[in-house]
Subunit: 142 residues, 2 copies
């Protein structure tokens, strides 16, 4: 049974045309046990290595952004130089390893619910996210 059918369905549901490329990207991103983090660069590499397909860089950007807009992906800001994406779209916090530049999810139990006492008039809170930067214990970090 082709797993792709799920993706075709899914894409249709949110109003994205199930094209060859989008399905291929879905496979790379979602045909796995755990959610994970990636950059566009990572994704391009995965596609060209794991699968024997070449998808134009522009399409990868378009598709990733389309997915993000529709809630299939979440963008994480850590580093001003790169965009990280997360296939775990639920609201959650992160550890960022400054040595390896690796992102690690926090479980809900890792950090208590955050209570924001201030509110900005006319504005609603879209998200509240914590970033915990960690680094090797025996290293001089900035």
């Amino acid at each position: 049974m082709p797993k792709n059918c799920n993706f075709i369905e899914k894409l249709r549901e949110v109003g994205l045309r199930p094209t060859k490329q989008r399905i291929k990207i879905c496979e790379v991103l979602y045909n796995r046990e755990k959610t994970f983090h990636f950059t566009i660069n990572d994704l391009v590499k995965m596609i060209s290595e794991k699968m024997n397909e070449k998808i134009s860089l522009a399409t990868v950007y378009n598709t990733v952004h389309a997915f993000e807009k529709k809630g299939y992906l979440k963008e994480i800001s850590i580093d001003s130089h790169k965009s990280y994406f997360d296939t775990n779209t639920s609201s959650h916090h992160h550890f960022f390893d400054e040595d390896t530049h690796e992102l690690i999810d926090c479980d809900e139990s890792d950090i208590d619910k955050i209570n924001i006492k201030k509110n900005i008039t006319g504005k609603k809170i879209n998200s509240v996210e914590v970033l915990v930067r960690v680094a090797s214990d025996n290293q001089t970090q900035k």
Copy 2:
């Protein structure tokens, strides 16, 4: 009394040569009541507009990064496209207005101390920061 003397001292203290350009940038950044947030672009504009000086873009980058390394500035990651810096170098949280792209500091009292229950072996926590994204109440936000 030339305020610059303070900056010359300060720069010397952390081992940065007090050059004309660094002092000028200090003036723009620290000769003010409140701390503030800026991008490199903002800073370049300020220098060329407010003061009548032209400092090479490369120097502005170098200087800002030198200041950051020495703890005169703090980098804030929000947006993957731009680097924001903060002259408030203490550990604190932020609101980010997604409409105006404006950063707003949180006071300590705005958010309770965050308790991290997880720890990653061999790694120490460098910082714990919260980003609260807000947007206009009556607007469709991504």
